[in-house]
Symmetry: C2
Subunit: 322 residues, 2 copies
C-alpha cells in the first residue's frame, strides 16, 4: 500500500512515448498493491495503471504474469490488459524497475462482501480457470505444499512469540496434511490470491480481477479453497455458510466440481489456511515496526484452520449433503 | 504523501449519492498532499478528487479555502472546482473527517522546472492575485512575521541539533527582519505555498494550481518572494537568475510591481526563506523517525536565506538595474 519508487515527469513522458497510448496528461501514485508501486496514468486517449515491479517479484516471473493477464483478457476475463510498446514488448524498464502499462479497470473492492458478491466471485474464478486452459506459460506454486515446511523452518523457533503453542499447531498440521495432500485433481492456471481487495465491483456486477502476481499452475479446487478462506468468514472469524454456499454454487454454475474435488475440499481449505498462516507469520516476525505496510495478523488464519479441521466433508461448507 | 484515513466503499457510495455527480465507479487513495488524505474518484460523469481534511487543517478555515477555490475558478484561474452537494454545501463529513469533492485537474508537476515554467507560474500568480480581489473571505497569515518568533521559541533550544550555530542565525535574522518588515504593500489573497508540486503543467502550458491550504491575506509581493525561493534555485541551492527573471517578468506581464514592492523584494525573499526555514526546522525536530512522510531538510532554506542576505536590490534577482 505504498509508492516505493518515485518516477519523474521526464522519465515517465519518455516511457509513455514508447507506447501508442496518447500523450501523458497526469499521473498519481496510488496506495494500492503491497508488493509493487502503482500509478494511475491519464493520457489523451485512456486511463492506465503503471506498475513498477519491486524486488519481491522475480523478474523471471514477469512474462508469465503479464502474459497471463493478456491471455485471460483476450478470453473475456475482466482483468487488466497489458499495452504493448512500439517494439511489441509488454515489459519495459522505468526508474530502475521493470514496468508494465495496463488498462485501468473501473470498480472498487467490497469491504464487507455479501453472499451475492461471493456468488459472482465463484463464477469469475471458474471462468478464469477455463480461460487459462490453453495458456502455455507455466509457473510452479512456490507457496504450495512443497514450500510450506521450508517456510516454517525459517521462523519456527520464534512461532510461539505470535501465539503460545503455534509452533506445535503448525508442526502437527504439516504432519497431517503433507502425506495426505490430494493428488491428481484437475489443474491449470490459478489466481492463488483472489482476496476481496483483488476483485472490483460496480454495483453488484463484478468488473475486474487484479493482482496476478501469485498466479501459478495448481489444482483448481485449491484456488476455490483459498476463496473460501478469503471471502466466507466474518470479521469475528466465524464461517458464514450462506456465503460459502454462494461461492461454491457460483463456481459450479460455470465449472462443476468432480467427486474427487468435492471430497478434497476440507483438506484443501486446511492447506489454504495453513499457507496464509505461514506467510503471515513469517511477515509478522520479519516486518520492521516502522514499515510503511503493516503485516496482517496471522491469528486470523489460525482460527480459520481450526474451523476447517472440524469440517468432515463439503457439506460442512454448504449445509447440504455432498 | 499518504492515505491517513481509509474510506469504505459503503460510506463513500453514500457520500457520493449526496451529490449530483453521477454514480461511483472507482476510487483510489493517492500519495499526494502532506496534510490531508486524497482519493482519485471516478464517477459515471467525471473524475474528481476527494479530500479528507486531517487534524492539521483547522476546520474553521475550510470555508475560506474551499470558497476561495470556487471564487478563483469562477474567475478563470485553473484550480479545482468544489462540487456542491444536493443541499448546496461544499464541505461535508466522511469517515469522521470534513471532506470536499473537487474537480480533477489534468497535468503533472515539473520535477526540474525550466525558465519557461517559471514564466508561466509568474503569470498565473499575478492572475490569482487579481482574481482574488473581490473575494470576501479573510484569513490571517499564521506563518507571517508575527508568527515567526513564537514558532522559533518552540524549538530554539534544539535548533543547533540541526546545524551548529543555527539558533544564532535565526535569532539575528528575526532581529533584522521584524523591525524592518515592509508595511502597506499592495495586499490581498495570496497562495503562500506555490511550490512546484502545487502547479500542474500539460506540455509547456500551466493546467492547474492546487493546494490552497496555506492561502491567506498578505502582501502580493511576498507571495512572489515565496515563488522565487521555491522555483529559482538549483538542486545545489545556487540561485538561477534566468529563472528568477522569467518568474518576475511573467508576473509583471499581468501585474506590474510598484516601486515599493520592487524595493522590498530582497527583504521579502529573506522573510520567505526564514518562514520555510522555521517550519522545516520545527518539523525536522518533531517528526517521529518512523513517520510516513519524511520532513524536508531545513538547511536548503538556510542556504537560500544566506543568498538573499547578499542581495542588495531587485537587480540581484533579475540581473538588470531596478
Amino acid at each position: 500500500m505504498a509508492v516505493y519508487t518515485e518516477v519523474t515527469d521526464e522519465e515517465l513522458a519518455a516511457f509513455i512515448a514508447g507506447y501508442d497510448v496518447g500523450d501523458l496528461l497526469s499521473y498519481k501514485g496510488i496506495a494500492e498493491g503491497v508488493e509493487n508501486t502503482n500509478y494511475v496514468v491519464h493520457t489523451t486517449r485512456e486511463p492506465l495503471i503503471l506498475t513498477l515491479y519491486e524486488k519481491r517479484v522475480a523478474r523471471s516471473d514477469l512474462p508469465f504474469f503479464v502474459g497471463l493477464m493478456e491471455h485471460l483478457a483476450g478470453k473475456g476475463v475482466p482483468c487488466p490488459v497489458p499495452r504493448h510498446d512500439r517494439k511489441g514488448e509488454t515489459i519495459g524498464e522505468l526508474a530502475g524497475r521493470a514496468a508494465a502499462l495496463v488498462t485501468f479497470l473501473e470498480g472498487f473492492w467490497i469491504r464487507r462482501p455479501k453472499a451475492e458478491h461471493c456468488a459472482r466471485v465463484g463464477e469469475a474464478l471458474a471462468r478464469l480457470h477455463g480461460a487459462g486452459a490453453d495458456f502455455t506459460g507455466k509457473r510452479t506454486n512456490a507457496l504450495g505444499p512443497s514450500g510450506w515446511q521450508p517456510l516454517f523452518d525459517r521462523f519456527r523457533d520464534r512461532a510461539n512469540e505470535i501465539s503460545p503453542g503455534l509452533e506445535g499447531v503448525i508442526a502437527d498440521e504439516l504432519a497431517a496434511l503433507l502425506p495426505a495432500w490430494p493428488q491428481n485433481l484437475p489443474s491449470g492456471v490459478i489466481h492463488a490470491d483472489l482476496f476481496p481487495d483483488n476483485v472490483f465491483f460496480v454495483g453488484s456486477e463484478l468488473s475486474g480481477l487484479i493482482d496476478f502476481y501469485f498466479a501459478c499452475n495448481d489444482a483448481f479446487a485449491y484456488d476455490l479453497a483459498i476463496c473460501l478462506n478469503a471471502w466466507c468468514f466474518e470479521p469475528d472469524h466465524a464461517y458464514n455458510m450462506t456465503k460459502g454456499r454462494a461461492l461454491l454454487k457460483g463456481y459450479e454454475q460455470v465449472r462443476p466440481l468432480s467427486a474427487a474435488e468435492r471430497a478434497a475440499m476440507p483438506m484443501l481449505a486446511r492447506g489454504a489456511a495453513l499457507r496464509f498462516l505461514l506467510t503471515r507469520s513469517y511477515d509478522w516476525l520479519n516486518t520492521p515496526k516502522n514499515a510503511v505496510v503493516s503485516p496482517h495478523d496471522p491469528i486470523d488464519y489460525l482460527r480459520r484452520l481450526r474451523f476447517h479441521q472440524s469440517v468432515g466433508s463439503i457439506a460442512g461448507y454448504i449445509g447440504e449433503a455432498p
